[in-house]
């Protein structure tokens, strides 16, 4: 149990997928303009990454490793992720049409979101050996992504009222904010085993 809590905290906060590994920066900057959209994106990524993490773990454990095809890892993982994203797109379009409109191009772009492929690969690089660990790790990586993007969206919403110097308006100040946010998250470094 302690293991799982450590994995969760480590994944969500200490080794935050966006702010420590700099994965998934594209949606992090692209969809963090409004709080509700950012939360929607975070939820979608969490959903996709949990399913993708589970499926890739199963495929890797029960298909690739027994057949000695570990080198197919990347291509199969991308395959699984793409399929999962398609599924999520259908679900969102059916049950959340407004969210589907708001996502626009970013929902299909989750397919190429490196945070998701990164998470699936980290499951192996970090040596999580049970399905439960893999699922918890994937889910809390998604939670970490949501946390980062929601904080970012909140900051950017407040930023619209700030008197930003002209040359820094738009993308530059956003990158500054992201950098400071990443530095703030460095304060968590070393908590837990941070595997």
């Amino acid at each position: 149990m302690t293991d799982l809590i450590l994995i969760a905290i480590s994944a969500a906060i200490v080794n935050n997928v966006v702010l420590t590994y700099f994965l998934g920066v594209c949606p992090f900057l692209g969809v963090s303009r409004r709080l509700d959209m950012a939360f929607g994106m975070g939820t979608a990524v969490t959903f996709v990454v949990t399913i993708a993490g589970t499926l890739t773990f199963i495929t890797h454990c029960y298909v690739l490793l027994p057949l000695d095809l570990a080198f197919l890892q990347y291509i199969v993982f991308i395959f699984v992720i793409a399929g999962t994203v398609q599924l999520v797109e259908m679900v969102v379009r059916k049950f959340q049409p407004a969210l589907y409109e708001a996502f626009g191009v970013f929902l299909p772009m989750i397919t190429t979101n490196c945070a998701i492929l990164g998470t699936c690969l980290f499951v192996w690089l970090k040596g999580y050996d049970t399905l439960l660990k893999a699922v918890v790790f994937s889910f809390f990586n998604g939670v970490g992504f949501t946390l980062a993007i929601v904080i970012m969206a909140g900051l950017r919403e407040d930023l619209t009222f700030a008197d930003v110097p002209k040359p820094l308006r738009g993308a530059p100040i956003t990158l500054f904010v992201a950098a400071i946010l990443a530095m703030a998250f460095m304060g968590f470094a070393g908590i837990g085993t941070a595997q």
């Binding site: 495929t59 690739l64 057949l67 000695d68 095809l69 199969v76 395959f79 059916k94």
Partner: protein, 300 residues
């Protein structure tokens, strides 16, 4: 080695089949009902995604049409046939639509523009427009061909320092209108195959215009006196009111009267007065000569 390749292929194949079945099933169960008219409208549109209608893509425009948020006659690529088809689909009257095509409000070739400066800056209109000093006229075409470069349909070519439009290729997307830093390209409704256009944008008094251009409009108002319903003089420049042009009137008399030859015809070439058509797709353009090397040489 061979077994590895074969097992890899087999694994990928099996995974592919599993995912296909899964997604097909999901697609069937989670199908969302789209307004069937939207799909029909999408098919009816040309699919050029040029943005000429003001929407980001053809599908965005189709959606707007299907929900009644946009008029059916906005597609300039498709023109009247598409407007009619959309009107039939949506059950509304199409109204009279004309294809909007660009015309250039400058008809002075390189040697007709006077007071050339020694411009050695970047060879683009936008740069030359900012620095100035390329030629006397501060309103007219600079001749570096920003519009020609912007055209995605190969419909423009630079001849004698003046862009010519090949109306067989042009779809009226309006990219060239936005590319021109001097704002002398305008989209007008082509109510006839050839439209009479004021080939000048210079608002200066006649004397000043004469000093910078051989063919610029001097605001003599001869055209306005001959055809008062269509022509007017605004700020020393003749303006044609295209709302009142029907496309059937014969304007050759006015065209012949213009002392500065600023009135020019734009449109598809027609044999009997081809010599008058400055802006038409002439045989030269059909042959696609090498574009004039725009640099310093032709400015003297």
């Amino acid at each position: 080695m061979l077994t590895t390749i074969l097992t890899s292929a087999a694994v990928m194949l099996v995974l592919g089949v599993i995912f296909s079945v899964l997604l097909i099933e999901a697609n069937r169960r989670l199908a969302v009902e789209v307004d069937p008219r939207e799909a029909e409208v999408t098919v009816a549109l040309p699919g050029a995604n040029c943005g000429g209608c003001g929407f980001a893509s053809c599908s965005a425009y189709a959606k707007a049409v299907a929900t009644g948020r946009a008029d059916v006659n906005r597609c300039s690529v498709g023109g009247p046939p598409v407007a009619e088809r959309l009107a039939a689909l949506m059950g509304v009257a199409a109204g009279v639509t004309f294809p909007f095509r660009p015309v250039i409000h400058c008809s002075a070739t390189a040697d007709q523009r006077l007071q050339h400066g020694d411009y050695r800056g970047e060879a683009t209109c936008s740069a030359a427009h900012v620095t100035g000093g390329v030629q006397g006229c501060t309103y007219g075409c600079l001749g570096f061909g920003d519009c020609v470069g912007s055209c995605e349909y190969d419909a423009m070519v630079l001849v004698d320092g003046l862009p010519r439009i090949d109306y067989e290729q042009c779809v009226g997307c309006g990219v060239c209108v936005r590319a021109c830093p001097r704002r002398i390209i305008e989209q007008i409704p082509f109510k006839a195959e050839q439209m009479l256009v004021v080939g000048c944008a210079n608002h200066d008094p006649g004397k000043v215009v004469r000093s910078v251009c051989r063919v610029g409009c001097i605001g003599c108002s001869l055209c306005a006196r001959t055809e008062p319903q269509l022509f007017s003089i605004e700020d020393n420049l003749a303006v044609i009111d295209y709302d009142h042009v029907t496309g059937h009137e014969d304007l050759h008399a006015v065209h012949a009267k213009c002392p500065m030859e600023s009135l020019v015809y734009f449109g598809k070439p027609e044999s009997h007065h081809e010599e008058q058509l400055v802006g038409v797709a002439t045989s030269e353009i059909a042959d696609r000569p090498a574009p004039v090397e725009h640099g310093l040489d032709w400015r003297g």
